[in-house]
Structure formats: structure tokens, C-alpha cells
Symmetry: C2
């Protein structure tokens, strides 16, 4: 895999956006991080917003891919949800800078781009809701408010991008395992054996 100028540019923009936010990031800062001139940025993307959209779309698609793969690991609701939360937290921890752009810069997208991303988000949330409903139907989960609980479970995974540091108290794996455990405790029917 050759690292192209376009790759360097996306990497540089991701770091800059994650560090200062989209609006506060200058194209000169991006260019400097990617070791190119300010003008070279515009060879690859017409506007700064198009750069953001490319990063946000790829990030959302990768997160969705990871969530779907985890969902397919098991047919049993508890193990399925455990795998989904573990994978989602793990992804956000290992890709915390992309995650920050993905989660915090949604409002900076154009209305057209925002609609594309909103659809991806809806599908991710629906994926988790489906798993919760299946578990309730099988009687192994007890979830009074599926919509709110799905949001809460996702909050657990997503919010870590706000503070996670690889050098911190937990590795990505440790945090993912902890979150998976906590999520299961949030939704498991009391009668279910551990």
C-alpha cells in the first residue's frame, strides 16, 4: 500500500479537525501537516467541506462495517449485543480522532452531505434496536424503553472519543470489554443466568 498525497491529506485533515474542530482549522494548517503547499489541498478536494465529508463518510462506513460484522458473530441476543458494544467501543477507542470528527462535526456538513450521514446513523441505531427487540422477544432481555436504551448504549461507546488516550488507564481492549459488560447489565433480564 503506497501512501499517496491524498492519503496524507486525509490524515492531516483528520488530525487538525479532531484537534481544533472543523471551523477553527485553516487550510494552511492542513497543508502544512500534509507537507504540501496551501494550493495543493485544492487539487484533491474542491472545498474544505468536501474534505470533511470524505472523512466523515469513510468513518461512518467503517464504524457501520465493524458493527455489522460483530452483529453477525452470534444468533444469541446477549452475545450479539456484547459483541456489538465491544466492537463499537473498540473502534471508537482505536480511531478516536476520526471518531471525534465523525461525532462532533456533523453540523458543519452541507445539508446534502448531512442527509447522507444521517441515513447511515439511522441504520446503525436501528441495527442495535433490532438486537434489543429480539432479546426482549426471546425473554433474555428486559428493556422498557428500546429507543432510549439503544441511545444510552451507543453513548457509552461514542463518548469515549471525548477523553480516550492510548496512554491512559485503559487500553482499547480493556475499555471495550468493560463497556460490553456494563451494556449487558443494563439490558439483561434479572432471571437470566450469568
Amino acid at each position: 500500500m503506497t501512501v499517496t498525497a491524498r492519503d496524507r491529506l486525509l490524515q492531516a485533515a483528520t488530525e487538525a479537525f479532531a484537534e481544533h474542530g472543523y471551523g477553527a482549522t485553516t487550510t494552511r494548517d492542513i497543508a502544512s501537516r500534509a507537507q504540501m503547499s496551501p494550493a495543493a489541498v485544492y487539487v484533491h478536494h474542491a472545498t474544505k467541506e468536501e474534505l470533511l465529508f470524505a472523512i466523515s463518510l469513510a468513518g461512518h462506513e467503517d464504524a457501520m462495517r465493524v458493527l455489522s460484522a460483530a452483529s453477525a458473530e452470534s444468533d444469541e441476543p446477549i452475545e450479539r449485543i456484547r459483541a456489538m458494544v465491544r466492537a463499537f467501543s473498540d473502534w471508537h477507542a482505536r480511531n478516536s480522532r476520526i471518531g471525534r470528527v465523525v461525532q462532533y462535526e456533523f453540523g458543519a456538513l452541507t445539508p446534502e452531505h448531512r442527509a447522507v450521514i444521517a441515513d447511515l446513523r439511522r441504520r446503525m441505531e436501528q441495527h442495535l434496536r433490532d438486537a434489543l427487540v429480539a432479546g426482549v422477544d426471546e425473554g433474555v432481555l428486559e428493556v422498557a424503553d428500546v429507543r432510549g436504551t439503544a441511545r444510552a448504549v451507543l453513548s457509552l461507546s461514542v463518548d469515549l472519543v471525548r477523553w480516550f488516550e492510548p496512554s491512559g488507564a485503559h487500553t482499547a481492549s480493556e475499555l471495550a470489554d468493560l463497556h460490553a459488560d456494563l451494556a449487558i447489565r443494563m439490558v439483561r433480564a434479572p432471571s437470566t443466568p450469568v
Copy 2:
């Protein structure tokens, strides 16, 4: 309570920072929202960052006050934690724009101001950790990782500022009750009666 120009300014800046982020907000935008000239902003605060610090400090102190008050409601660990999570989620839902500035613009502060805010945050987290440890000692809670679980419980309350809308599917009260319930399920010892 008279609404002073300074109040209008803080209110305007909070809304602008929450909507576009600190870096992307212009002093002209703030002035226009507060119905004053661009120059009038500088009568009340020397720099844009001082405005941010004033908002962030007041927000953190108010959240801390709410958390402490809730903690004092009960001596029993489960009810204490239920009250703390309910109050913290409720505050973030009812003050979601202040919450967004408080949570997302930490990095935009000067190192000196950042240190002040970091200390307040440490104390809030410690407050919740103390309640968890007390519950474990009394045998009503089962928490393998106090530090990680405290963070996770706070994530539940904090992350809602990213998406909460008063016109949405849940009111602030409903969401706060749900989060309090979910948090208790995360930490309660299985043997404890509901």
C-alpha cells in the same frame, strides 16, 4: 432580576459556541446575537477566550452544585447514585447548549484556564467514585473497575448534549429517570432486591 448587557452577551456567546464551536464563532456573530456592536463585546471581556472561560467555569460550577445537592439527598448508596445520575442527566438535558460548550470546548481554553476547569472535573468524577466505593463496601454494589465504571456512568449523562432536543422523543425528566435506572443496573450487586 434585570437582564444586563453582560447577561445578553453570555447568552449569545453560549448559543453561538454551541452551534458552530468556539473556533468557528466570530465576535461579530456574538455581538449580533446580543444586539450590540462588535466593539461592545470587548467592554465586557478582553478576549473571545475570556468569554469562553466565563461560560465554561459557570457551567462546570452549576453542574457540580447540582451533583453535590443530589449526592446529599440520601445516605443509601443506590439511592444516592440514582439521584446523582438523574440530576446530572437532567442538568445536561435542560442546559444542553451550555453542556456542549462545557464538554466540547475544553481544548480551546488557555492552559491556565484549562487547569482550573480540569480540577473541577476531577472533583466531580471523584464524587461519583466515592459513592461507588461506598456501595461496594456496603455490599449493595458490584463494581470491578470503579474508575472505568464512573467514567461510563458520566458518559451516559454527558453524551446526551450531542443529540438532545427538547422537542424530541424524551423530555429531560424522562431521560434522566431512564439514565438513573440504567446506571443502577450497571452497578447493583445481583443479590440486591429491586
